[in-house]
């Protein structure tokens, strides 16, 4: 019997398109991933390395869950659905034959679809080089064992697990929806546990809890070198093997239980029907003699609409699977909301902007799936239940049925859209958080979530009514959605006018809410809602009422319906759609320039090819700026009038200036006459900007000086510039000019060719025909000390903060004026100006030399929870740093909160800033974890008032060892001094992770500190070795060296500027001979920190003095390096290192002081 059923199953499957579709989808996806090299690899690893193949197999087996669910689920459900049960009960079919025939006959196809991953990978390995998509040397040899082994050890057991799981569920519950819900729960559960695993150190848990073995695999290969990656098969041994055995056994056990519990009769006959006890002998109801019947007019239509909508909603909410899926999502979301973001294990306060932001980041696809699924159920419910034979002969006009369905789905979508708000408010109330930002909830709901949900519903609905077959419609809708998602998230294409339901991106902020992005987003939402309506109207022409089948009948019907109000409606909506679209196009592609990612890169490449030759031409440098700056945050405008003094400090005569406008609208004047200029470079028009000029000038201009500037001479030029954004753009714009906070660099163009604008990634450079970039090329300029005289005006309710001494503050014409002066020491460029709707808290700190210093904290009103902590950090820092490195030289100290778009952290003369979402403003320090990272963050940026603002490092690649490394070291010592040894541990651990990951993955050949070229060296290695040194010989000696260094190099006006070698030689002078070799190894070699030997222990291990000093830091170090192997295995985790790294949210526009140091 088994043989017949098995053979039948195979023949049946072979006739179905589904298995072919799955197979080829997987095959094509895998082939492309490997042919195009879209797999996560380092530069030195082969695309088809065994590690990549294994990881790919593991990841794909998670997604193949979809295939195993639909195939294994249908294997026996089919008999219920098609009602073939009578045959099965009457035929002489045996239970083993049926059960195993069905299971194996189906599983073979799941296994075959699974095999498509590695077949595809193998094909991709061949196709990639053949089509020239990837160079041949990116691939290793394609031995079959490399493909077969991961399939057999990873894919197949995982598929067996999911297949048994779904097969068992369907035979137990006799229902196919159980697959949707359990699939969703399994997937969400997997995401939750992965989230846990990221924070777990327990090897056993990491390896064994994952049915797909992905986490274990990742941990296993984390520390592998490129060579191992390329040559070693990931063998199933140890915990990896145990994982496979464990989950295969679970699958087998599950299957066995299913088998023993399986009974033909029970499976086919279903639940025993419950008989309700009847209440007999009631009065015989009498029908009304002549009921009032009204079948016409709007009153009838309204009543029908009401009852239809009601019954549709009842149908959705009475389905228990709806609640299972919904509660699965809710639990998951509640979990994320409750845990919240956090750093160093310290959670944030539950901020509104986080809830709305994370929801829009994480859940739209999940919501889309719910919506598309229930749209399918709702649209096809009548046909599916065969109730349409009655329903469709009822009198209401078709549009009433149509509208009722749409309304019920919109109600569902609205409910779903409100979930994050309700959940967010509950979490905030439960946690007792005082700042419920109801305005922000409301604006996020109205501007983003609700319209997005409505557009989603309209889209799904249109597709489902236009396509008769529910599953085909699901397929079409999900495919379109996935393509849109892939296009945008992989940065292939982002022209929102052509991407259904997409709008410009923004990040909700506590300071500004959605701010000025409301307008563009709302326009796009209106556009997509209209588009959705149009889709629905057109789709309604094909709304299937009755038993009509086939295109011919549908076309006849559509033609019948295309008249009267329908025509008017469609034409009107179409007009509206084009009007809104035209307006958006006018803003995005006419008023502003839209460029695709490729075009932007190509422009950078063109500029590099044409202008790089001017990189080294002599240019003057700025020495003084007098500026009148008017800021209008409410209308997002700025005007600048600046007198700039330029000095020729080269030994050649300068007759032209190469000016980099950086998108500014500006003119240069000399003695009140506008200077003429020429453009050295034009770009071709963007491909979507049809109505703009064919040639667009680049930002560079040549200005010829009337009187050439001789060496040592200087001139004064006047720059007038305005920032006034016309219209809106395709993506985020004006990120620095928010209504409540504004950050500007003064809007002066730069001087000279900017290497910082060149394309950095070699793969992208290759696409644009550029040579590889020299990794050691200098991209910075030397520091430049300038004096400032700035008068700034801003809105009356704003406070403006500028480096320097506040000379005068006044109000006139309902505007707030400030005059700042910095004419003594000068400031190192670049500098920035902040204007914001701040609250402030001022204190006076008495410095160690007895001088009182005004210390101000400027923050948004809701972020007042950690002010005391910040104050103590500032006080401690000023005291410790002044005492150890030299007095604080500036007239005031200001700490500012910066907005979510950046700058991430600010270190300007007398001013430091931390970003609102990650800086520590929201850290909830009341919990168990007392890691006071806000204190530490402040300590780091404050230390930059010494390292950076006083000692400006030179332009060498390694110079952040001074500005960042020393700042982190200082902060560590500060925490150690004021908060004790234990308080430093989390920060040391974090630095260890940064260093450990960088060290393991620096396959270019790790440099020593003197030639540091990577962040993990200056951010982590430098402070760690200094910190350890201070532990060995006492902080005073190290600090004395740094004090010396500062004294030698502070406020330099000309070359040479401080370099790492200078720092090193200062250190050497203060270090006792016993530690010289430690210092040498730490700075001149790339020996891992854990292996550095200190003191005499390397040569004289028996010295009692050395033994009696069991160095804490070293123990910490070795512990850390162990735990880090399990932790820092993800690429994502590797990124967030110290507080200095750039946030992913930091947009290009955010003017972090990385620009040219010489503003014109």
């Amino acid at each position: 019997m088994f043989k017949e059923i098995f053979a039948f199953e195979i023949r049946y499957r072979l006739r179905r398109p589904a298995v072919y579709i799955y197979f080829f989808l997987v095959l094509i996806f895998s082939a492309f991933s490997f042919a195009k090299g879209d797999v996560p690899i380092g530069e030195k690893e082969w695309i088809n390395s065994p590690v990549v193949l294994a990881q790919f197999s593991a990841i794909m087996s998670i997604f193949l869950m979809v295939a195993s669910a639909s195939i294994m689920g249908m294997a026996i459900y089919r008999d219920l659905e098609y009602g073939t049960k009578e045959y099965y009960l009457s035929y002489p079919i045996t239970k083993p034959g049926y059960f195993w025939g069905r299971f194996l006959g189906s599983f073979i196809f799941v296994a075959a679809i699974g095999a498509a991953t590695m077949i595809g990978a193998w094909l991709g390995t061949r196709l990639g080089p053949a089509f020239g998509w990837q160079p041949k040397d990116r691939y290793g040899n394609a031995q079959l064992i490399k493909y077969i082994y991961p399939y057999l050890t990873l894919t197949l057991p995982s598929l067996f697990f999911t297949s048994s799981f779904f097969f068992g569920l369907v035979s137990a519950f006799r229902n196919v929806k159980v697959i949707y819900s359990s699939g969703t729960l399994l997937f969400l559960g997997y995401m939750i546990s992965s989230f846990f695993l990221h924070n777990s150190h327990n090897q056993f848990v990491i390896y064994l809890t994952d049915p797909f073995n992905f986490n274990g695999l990742r941990a296993e290969v984390a520390a592998w070198s490129p060579d191992q990656h390329n040559h070693s098969l990931v063998r199933m041994q140890g915990l990896l093997l145990q994982n496979r055995i464990l989950w295969s056994s679970i699958a087998l056990a599950g299957l066995a239980i299913t088998w023993f519990r399986f009974s033909f009769e029970r499976f086919f006959s279903g639940r025993q029907q419950r008989r309700l006890t009847s209440t007999v002998n009631q009065a015989r109801p009498q029908p009304p003699r002549h009921p009032y019947i009204n079948l016409k007019g709007s009153r009838y239509n309204q009543k029908s609409l009401y009852t239809l909508t009601r019954i549709e909603i009842l149908n959705i909410v009475r389905d228990s699977y709806f609640w299972i899926i919904l509660s699965g999502g809710l639990i998951f979301m509640f979990f994320i909301f409750w845990m919240g973001p956090g750093r160093y294990g310290v959670p944030d306060y539950p901020r509104t902007s986080f809830f709305m932001g994370v929801f829009m980041e994480t859940f739209p696809f999940f919501l889309f799936l719910i919506i598309v699924f229930y749209t399918g159920e709702t649209v096809h419910r009548e046909k599916h239940t065969r109730y349409h034979l009655i329903n469709d002969t009822l009198p209401p006009p078709t549009w009433v049925f149509n509208t009722a369905k749409l309304l019920s789905l919109l109600a569902l979508a609205t409910g779903l859209a409100l979930v994050p708000m309700l959940l967010g408010i509950s979490v905030q109330l439960l946690k007792g958080y005082p700042h419920l930002n109801l305005t922000q909830y409301a604006s996020s709901e109205l501007v983003t979530l609700l319209p997005k949900m409505i557009a989603t519903v309209l889209f799904c609905y249109a597709i489902h009514i236009a396509i008769d077959n529910k599953f085909a419609a699901h397929g079409v809708a999900i495919t379109i959605w996935a393509v849109l998602y892939a296009l945008t998230s992989l940065n292939y294409f982002d022209y929102n006018l052509l991407l259904y339901s997409y709008t410009p991106r923004f990040w909700p902020s506590d300071i500004d809410g959605i701010g000025h992005m409301v307008r563009p987003v709302a326009w796009y939402q209106a556009y997509w809602t209209t588009a959705g309506l149009l889709l629905v109207l057109i789709g309604s022409l094909f709304y299937a009422r009755g038993t009509r089948t086939g295109l011919r009948e549908k076309t006849v019907l559509a033609r019948q319906r295309f008249r009267g109000w329908t025509t008017t409606g469609i034409v009107a909506t179409l007009l509206l759609f084009f009007t809104i679209g035209g307006y958006i196009y006018y803003n995005v592609s006419y008023l502003n320039e839209y460029l695709t990612t490729w075009e932007k890169e190509e422009r950078a490449a063109l500029a590099e090819r044409q202008l790089r030759r001017y990189a080294d031409i002599p240019q003057p440098r700025t020495t003084h700026i007098s500026m009148q700056l008017d800021l209008y945050p409410d209308i997002q405008q700025e005007t600048t009038k600046a007198l700039v003094t330029l000095a020729n400090s080269t030994n050649q005569t300068i007759d032209s200036l190469l000016v980099d406008g950086d998108g500014l609208d500006f003119e240069v004047y000399s003695n009140n006459t506008k200077l003429p200029y020429t453009c050295p470079l034009y770009f071709p028009r963007g491909r979507f900007d049809f109505f703009r000029p064919k040639q667009e000038p680049s930002d560079y201009r040549w200005y010829r000086l009337g009187n050439p500037l001789k060496p040592g001479d200087s001139i004064q030029l006047e720059v007038r510039s305005t920032v006034a954004h016309e219209g809106f753009e395709n993506s985020l714009y004006n990120a620095n000019i928010l209504h409540n906070i504004l950050f500007t660099g003064g809007n002066l163009p730069g001087l000279g060719y900017d290497k910082g604008d060149e394309l950095g990634r070699n793969d992208i450079r290759r696409e644009h025909g550029l040579p590889k970039k020299d990794p050691n090329e200098l991209t910075r300029d030397n520091p430049n000390l300038i004096t400032l005289d700035i008068t700034v005006s801003t809105s009356a309710d704003h406070i403006a903060l500028v480096p320097g001494r506040l000379e005068k503050e006044w109000t006139a014409n309902d505007r707030h004026y400030y005059h700042y002066l910095q004419n003594s020491s000068g400031v190192y460029a670049p500098f920035g100006i902040l204007s914001a709707h701040y609250k402030s808290s001022a204190t006076t700190v008495t410095l160690p030399d007895g001088r009182p210093l005004d210390v101000g904290i400027f923050y948004t009103p809701m972020n007042d929870l950690n002010l005391a902590d910040f104050r103590s950090a500032l006080k401690d820092g000023l005291e410790y740093y002044s005492r150890n490195f030299g007095p604080y030289p500036f007239p005031r100290l200001t700490l500012m909160e910066t907005p979510v778009y950046g700058p991430f952290n600010v270190a300007m003369q007398g001013e430091i800033g931390l970003i609102e979402n990650l800086g520590g403003w929201n850290a909830d320090l009341s919990g168990n974890n007392k890691t006071d990272y806000p204190y530490y963050n402040i300590a780091v940026v404050l230390a930059q008032q010494w390292w950076g603002q006083q000692v400006a490092p030179n332009n060498a690649k390694s110079s952040p060892v001074i500005s960042k490394g020393l700042a982190v070291y200082s902060a560590l010592r500060l925490v150690r001094q004021y908060r004790g040894k234990d308080a430093v541990t989390p920060f040391l651990e974090d630095l260890q992770r940064t260093y450990g990951w960088g060290h393991r993955t620096d396959f270019d050949g790790e440099h020593d500190l003197l030639h540091a070229n990577k962040p993990h060296l200056w951010d982590a290695r430098a402070p760690l070795v200094l910190y350890n040194l201070a532990e060995y010989i006492g902080a005073d000696s190290v600090n004395a060296a740094l004090r010396d260094f500062l004294q030698q190099w502070k406020f330099r006006r000309d070359t040479p500027y401080a370099g790492v070698a200078d720092l090193y030689s200062c250190l050497k002078q203060h270090i006792p001979d016993s530690e010289i070799s430690y210092l040498k190894n730490a700075w001149e070699t790339s020996t891992p920190i854990a292996e550095l030997k200190h003191g005499a222990s390397q040569s004289k291990p028996t010295t009692t003095h050395q033994q009696s000093k069991p160095t804490t830091s070293q123990t910490i170090t070795s512990q850390q390096s162990k735990s880090t192997t399990s932790q820092t295995t993800t690429p994502q985790q590797s990124k967030p290192t110290t507080s200095q790294t750039i946030t992913p949210q930091q947009s290009k526009q955010s003017t972090t002081p990385h620009k040219k140091t010489s503003p014109l």
Binding site: R284, P287, T307, I311, R386, Y387, L389, D392, G546, V556
Partner: protein, 295 residues
């Protein structure tokens, strides 16, 4: 009321010719549709019930163009389809109330009385609050009858209404039908020839999408008077008889095989005259179109 169907044709996209030049005239009263499986009965009924389009031809209900003014037809219609389904999570009573509202019964008290009375009539009163998904096949069929009668329909179409009903429920249903007013057209399709002869004033036989006969049952039977002969034969001789006589039906009774033939003259050879019934009419017409082999 008069329903006139004129040269109605319909071919499905898969090539099946469901209706071919069907012309019928129906007046108030009960009209029976007889025909083998796949004859086109349901297609015809669904077309009248506005569920599908016709390729050509016309249907008029008095002045109403059925194929064009579907809403007009739906306002007069009560339809019980063959093998219909229901929303499984909604109770019988709630669903009838919903349909009553859609059939224009605006006042909620009248709706309530009507729904309860109908549930009583189809013997579902005690199960009125159960979810339709828990109903058995017969209960669902009775619920279907109830919904078709809501709102005083003038045109009632019932497609094999008694399928799945036990004899008692079947009688109950026929009683219900016969109580309907004189002003109503009832179209009933069935396989049970006897039902047509007892219930219907008019009937038609359809096969392969064509109307083979249209008239009153009595007249039809009368037309076969003295033309039907029957004989008991040994089972193994059936082929021999099939070759020699126009057999219209065969019947096994207690192991004996009886055959009936149509013949204008007495065939002799042991055949004896028999009283014609509607089944003879049915088989006589069907056998001209298809091979009726009941053995």
């Amino acid at each position: 009321m008069q329903l006139s169907i004129d040269r109605l044709s319909k071919t499905y996209p898969n090539g099946v010719r469901a209706l071919h030049n069907v012309s019928l005239n129906l007046t108030n009263g009960m009209f029976g549709l007889l025909g083998p499986n796949g004859a086109g009965k349901s297609s015809l009924m669904r077309t009248i019930a506005t569920l599908q389009e016709a390729d050509s031809g016309s249907i008029r209900l008095d002045d109403l163009d059925v194929l064009d003014n579907k809403t007009g037809v739906r306002r007069l219609l009560g339809y019980l389809p063959q093998e219909f389904g229901v929303y499984p999570k909604i109770s019988a009573r709630q669903m009838l109330d919903h349909i009553a509202r859609l059939k224009g019964i605006e006042r909620s008290n009248e709706r309530r009385d009507l729904v309860l009375a109908l549930l009583e009539k189809v013997n579902l009163y005690k199960d009125r609050d159960r979810k339709l998904g828990t109903y058995s096949g017969g209960m669902k069929q009775r619920w279907g009858i109830a919904q078709a009668l809501i709102g005083n329909p003038r045109l009632i179409i019932v497609d094999e209404p008694t399928a799945g009903l036990d004899p008692a429920e079947r009688n109950r249903f026929y009683n219900l039908l016969s109580q309907l007013g004189e002003q109503t057209i009832v179209i009933l399709s069935t396989h049970i020839v006897e039902d047509v002869s007892t219930l219907c004033s008019q009937f038609a036989i359809i096969c392969h999408g064509e109307v083979l006969y249209h008239g009153e049952p009595g007249n039809a039977i009368k037309s076969l008077e003295e033309k039907i002969y029957s004989k008991r034969i040994p089972q193994n001789e059936i082929e021999k008889y099939r070759a020699g006589y126009p057999i219209i039906s065969t019947q096994l009774k207690a192991g004996q095989l009886y055959i009936r033939i149509k013949s204008d003259e007495h065939p002799g050879n042991g055949f004896s005259p028999a009283a014609p019934d509607l089944e003879d009419v049915y088989f006589t017409h069907i056998s001209t179109k298809m091979d009726v082999n009941t053995l």
